[in-house]
C-alpha cells in the first residue's frame, strides 16, 4: 500500500463514514462507528503484539479493504465496494500462458493448512487451507463449511479459458470479486506462488480431478 493510495483510500473512507452511519446492519455486527475507533484498536494491537518468526508487526498495518470492511460491518457502501474491488482486480498478476497446472499437486495444496504462520519455517511449503472451509473432492469427508461447496466445480462451469481466468483470479484475490469476503487473498498476500495457484485451478477445473468425479 503506497502512501498515495493509502491517502486516497482514507479520503474515500471519510466520505464513506458519513454515509455508512445511516446503513442499517445490526449494531452488534458493527462495533465501529468512526475511523477514530479503528485507530484506537490499531494502537492497542501495536502495543500488545510482538513479532515472531515470519509474522512481523508490519502485518498489523491495515489496508483500504480492511478499513472499509471493518468500519462498515463488512457491508461498505456500493460505490466504495466498486472502487476498491476494481483496485484489487487491477493488482492481480495473471501469469503468461496456461493458467492450469497439475491437479494432483493441487490436491496436496488444498489439503495443507501451512503457510504464513509464525511456526512455518522457511523450508515449510505453504498450502491453501482449502479443505478447512470448502468441500472439494467427495471422498474427503473432513471438510469445512465456512465457504460454499466446490464439488463438481469444473463439471458445472466447464473448463473454458474464461473459467480458468476467473478461478485463478478468485484464488489470487477473492476480494477483487467480493470485497469483504472471508476468503484470504492467497496470491495478493504472498501465501501461494503462481505455480501453486495454477495447480489449484487444475484441481478445480480438470475433468480428471476427483473434484469433478
Amino acid at each position: 500500500m503506497n502512501p498515495v493510495t493509502m491517502k486516497r483510500a482514507l479520503r474515500l473512507l471519510c466520505i464513506a463514514a458519513t454515509l455508512a452511519a445511516c446503513s442499517s446492519a445490526p449494531v452488534s455486527e458493527r462495533p465501529f462507528t468512526s475511523a477514530s475507533e479503528l485507530l484506537e484498536v490499531q494502537a492497542v494491537l501495536k502495543r500488545d503484539f510482538h513479532a515472531r518468526g515470519s509474522a512481523g508487526l508490519s502485518r498489523l498495518e491495515p489496508d483500504a479493504v480492511q478499513q472499509a470492511c471493518n468500519l462498515n460491518g463488512n457491508v461498505p457502501p456500493e460505490f466504495l465496494v466498486k472502487a476498491l474491488e476494481a483496485q484489487q482486480m487491477a493488482a492481480i498478476k495473471f501469469p503468461q500462458g496456461s493458467l492450469v497446472g497439475d491437479w494432483k499437486r493441487g490436491q496436496r495444496i488444498a489439503q495443507s493448512g501451512r503457510g504464513l504462520q509464525w511456526n512455518d519455517g522457511p523450508k515449510d511449503v505453504a498450502g491453501g487451507s482449502c479443505y478447512n472451509c470448502h468441500q472439494l473432492s467427495p471422498q474427503e469427508s473432513s471438510h469445512g463449511t465456512l465457504g460454499p461447496s466446490l464439488r463438481g466445480f469444473g463439471k458445472l462451469r466447464g473448463n473454458t479459458p474464461e473459467i480458468q481466468k476467473y478461478t485463478y483470479g478468485r484464488i489470487y484475490n477473492a476480494k477483487a470479486y467480493n470485497l469483504c469476503s472471508q476468503m484470504p487473498r492467497l496470491g495478493h498476500s504472498g501465501t501461494l506462488s503462481e505455480s501453486q495457484i495454477k495447480d489449484l485451478v487444475a484441481y478445480l477445473v480438470n475433468p480428471e480431478s476427483p473434484v469433478n468425479k
Partner: protein, 156 residues
Amino acid sequence: MAAMKPIRRLALKGAGVLTAALLAPLLLPIRALAAGWNKDAFGSKTAADALKILGAAGSTESKDVVIDAPQIAENGAVVPIEITSNVPNTRSIAVVIEKNPFPLAARFDFGDGAVPYVKVNVKMGESSFVRVVAEAGGRYYAASKEVKVTIGGCGG
C-alpha cells in the same frame, strides 16, 4: 517426565485420594492369569494373524459381546471403547483395531469375581472397524463396530 515429579511428592504424603507408591517388597510377581505380554500377537501386522496366535481364529458373531464406541471420533488419539461380554463365564477379551499398524490393541484376562467388562481409550490411525473377541469355555465370540476418525481442528 520431570514435571510429574510434584505428583510423586504428593503421593508419598499419602493424600487420601491419591495413594502411596509402595516399595519393592510388595512387587509380587505380576503374572497369574495369563502367560504375560504376548509379543507375537501384539507384533502381528494383521488382525487375522493376531487372533490366530491368540487361538481365537474361529470366532462366531455374537450379540452378547457389546461394544460402546463413538461412530465418529474427532481425533484418533483418544477413542473411548467400552466393552461388556454377556457370554456366560467369559475368561478373556481381546480388542483388535483392524486398520492399525499393529491391530491387537489390548487383551484382558478376568479371574474369579472380575466382571467381563472394560473401558479403555485407544488410538486409531484412521477410520476402522474395532473388533472384540471374547473367550468362554474354550470358544470364541466376536462383535465389530466401525469408528470413523475425522481430522478435527484447523489443519494448520
